[in-house]
Structure formats: C-alpha cells, structure tokens
Symmetry: C2
Subunit: 236 residues, 2 copies
DNA sequence: ATCGTTGATTTGTGATCACACATTACGGCA
DNA sequence: TGCCGTAATGTGTGATCACAAATCAACGAT
C-alpha cells in the first residue's frame, strides 16, 4: 500500500533557489562579471531575501560566484591563466575517475556509453544543441559514476559548475563543431574502457577535455570578463 | 604619510566566525558526529544567530560539516570507504601539485623545505606535537604554493579541512611516530624536487600521504563516527 | 519491560527591519 | 570642460521575531 506513494518534496526554499541559480549558471544565463543582488533575485524569484542570500553564499563557497572586496556578488570570470589551470585540474581529476571507471568496466556500461554517444551525434547533425550539451554531460558523468567514488564526483561537479558558462556560450552561438570532434574521442574512450585499459581511457578523455578548451581559445570566445586585467591568449 | 598606516580589519562577523569554526575543526576540537546548533554557538561566541548560521552553511557547502535530513548540522564522520577514497583523491591531486612544483624548483625552495623538515624533526624529538602538526602542514603547502596554481591550492585546502580532525586526534593522543617516518619521505621528496624530477617527487609524496593514512587504520584510531553503519576495517 | 502517546522544549527556516557602507548622480567651483 | 565634495539611492550585514518541525521526557497501556 505505502509503496504506491511517491515521496513529497521536503526541500527548503533556500535549496530550490540554489538549484535554480545553479541551473542558470550551467546554462550560461548569466555572463561572466554580472552582478547579482539579493533583493533583485528575491523579487525575480518571488521570495524574500533570506533564501536568496543563503543560496548566493553557498555558490560563493563553491567558487561559482565571487565576492568583491565591497561585498557585492558577481559571476566568476576567468583570466586565461586561471582558465587553463582549471582545464589542467580537470584533466587530472577526471582522468583519475576515468581510469577507475575502466577497472569497473561492464558490458552494460559500454553499451550505455555507446548509446549516449550516438544520440549525441544525431543531435549534432539535427542541430539540437541543447541535447548535445546534455548528452555530453551525460557521457562524462556516466563514466565518473562508474568509478564509484562519490566524493570525487562532487569535486568534478563543482569543476563543471565553474566552467559551466562556457559551454553555454557555445550553445548560444549555435556552434557544435567542438562536440563533433569530441564524439570521436568519446568513442576511443569507450573502446579503452571496453578493454579495461585505464591508461588509454584516461588519456583519450584528457584529450577530449583539452581539445574542447582549445577550441574556445582558438575562436577567442568572449569568456574572459573585461573585469580582469591582461586577457592574453596563451599556448598550452 | 599615509604609508605609515596599517590596514584596519574590514572582515565581516560571519567571516570571523567561519575562521574560528574552521580552526576548531582543524584542531579537532569537535569530534566526528557532534551536533552543532546555531543558538548554541552564537551564545558561545557572543554573537547573534545570523553570522553563525551563514558560517555553518558555508562549512556545509565545503563538506566540512554535513546536514542531516532533519536539517541539524553535524561534524562530518567517515566510513572507512569514504576515508580511503579521500586519501586516493589527495594522492592524485597533491601528487599533481608536487609534480608541477618540481618544475618550478629553485635553490631557495629546496633550502626552505629542508629547514621546515629539520625543524619538524627537532619538534618531534622535543615532543612539541603542535609544532609538528604545524610543520607538516607548512611543508606540504610550501610545495603546493610553488606549483603556482591558486585554484588547485584551494581544492587541496578543502581536502585537508575534511581530514583535519584526524591529525588532531593524533595530537590529542600524543602520538608522533607517523610524522617521524613522514620526515623520511619528505627528505626524498625534497631530493627529487632538487633534481627537478617531478615523477619521483610526486611518487614519494603520495607514499607520505598513504603511510600516514595507513597508520591511522593500523592503530584503529576512533575516526569513524558511530553514526554510520558498518564501520569495517578494510585493507588498501 | 516495551512501545506508543502526549506535552514541553529546542532548533532550523524564513520574513522583516535597522543600519552602515558602497555606488551613483548631481551640482558647484576651478 | 574637468574635478571634487555632497546628497540620494542601492545593497549587504546583522538582529530579532514568528512558526513549523524535530527532539526529548514523562507517562500510560499493553
């Protein structure tokens, strides 16, 4: 009898506000350097200041937002140096997760990854850019889940949140080429996972991350806020 | 004229409360599983509830504290699985930082590290356990600073905060043997950095982390809260 | 004795307000 | 026109309060 009941929503208002803002950041609805005000967001979301305030501070703690010395809250913006540092960190950490995932390889996992990847390809050809973004995220995190390291996934999630606005930029501009080349690396990752070759899997995944990042700087996408000094292009 | 003035403290109350709680966690003044109440801490610190509330939520966002489904806030406690996962993550990330630090090696850095390490040894022999803890942290972070990756340091800092209570346990018990063996690995790390051998440096640092963690489980230190189910001892 | 119930107390959440500081706009003076 | 005080507005911080949910204690029934 009781098993027919689905759990009711017991989340707090603060939590829902947090998720909403997080989602908006992921989708690049805010651009780097934007100032977010408590009262402004509270009015927009139809709540009081309190929940917004706590959600914002949580995002600041997660480094998705930054607080200026004058205590106003802005969307984090990168210098090229910080951007490439983050990419290097992602390559190391997500490479680690991939390596462990390969050890836990199973036919079901491989099949699942292949399906996601091919659905990505059709989404790219069809021009459904939002599906492409979603598929890319699903592909990566399906691997990371397979590593069975919950704390590591939390960390990776946080890193993605920081780079989130970037992919959103590509989405807005209608670009999808970096993802198309990405699917080729994805296939190589899957093949390595299939053979339980952790090193190869990690190596190809790192190339995927690197190639995508490289594409952004090659196209000089406006991801570096003008708030920072010296937005110089650097080679890896 | 104005250069004679030193800057005044412009930090917020919330920030000072946060730092105080963080420090307490580092020193292991709270034990795993303890419940922290807003009003209780506010009374103890002589502030209102507001700053405490925000400091606690920041620590929750950083995973130093956890929030139960009933929304009470506790000091995070580990299962052995989560503990070893964290150690593995630390080995990878801090290994990465060490590798890059070796590339930025300089005679000054090597000299500095040797001094810290030898001061650690005398602190151990003298029984100044607090200095030992401090020296160990200084040794590691001097290396990580040399990597010149600010975001990476933030991440490492957070990982140390999560494992913080543990070293505090050793401090309370008056143990210092894990640190004595640690200084031997430290010396090997320094030698590798001196030769700019990133791989060797990272490898020895990983062993240092692993050996310290191993010591804790070998001595069955009570680091795993009874709040969790199945606190089983596992081998790496 | 064990379990469920009831009541008292504690606790987190969210709203509202006062205040100090930051930011902006305006206006006068060089 | 350019610069600098000054007023006006906006904004984060911290305090306080109301409320619902959780926790704990005492009590009674089985």
């Amino acid at each position: 009898m009781t098993d027919k009941l689905s759990p009711v929503d017991v989340s707090t208002l603060q939590e829902r506000v947090y998720l909403k803002l997080r989602e908006a950041l992921y989708q690049g609805k805010f651009s780097a350097g934007d100032t977010l005000t408590i009262r402004g967001l509270a009015a927009a979301l139809g709540t009081s200041a309190m929940p917004v305030r706590e959600a914002l501070q949580r995002l600041v703690a997660e480094k998705a937002l930054v607080q200026t010395p004058s205590r106003s809250i802005r969307v984090a913006s990168f210098t090229p140096e910080l951007f490439w540092e983050l990419i290097r960190i992602r390559m190391t950490i997500e490479g680690m997760a991939t390596q462990r995932a390969a050890l836990n390889s199973s036919p079901a996992l491989v099949k699942n990854l292949r399906e996601i990847n091919s659905s990505m390809i059709t989404a790219i050809k069809g021009g459904f850019t939002e599906d492409v973004l979603d598929g890319n995220k699903r592909f990566h995190f399906t691997i990371y889940e397979a590593a069975e390291m919950p704390q590591l996934i939390e960390i990776i999630n946080n890193l993605w949140l920081r780079t989130g606005p970037y992919l959103g930029v590509a989405y807005r501009m209608g670009y999808s080429d970096p993802f198309l080349t990405g699917t080729r690396f994805h296939e190589r990752v899957v093949q390595a996972i299939e053979r339980r070759d952790g090193r190869k899997a990690a190596a190809n995944l790192k190339v995927d991350i690197w190639a995508t990042a490289k594409w952004f700087t090659r196209h000089r996408i406006a991801i570096f806020g003008e708030y920072e000094e010296k937005p110089i292009q650097i080679a890896l």
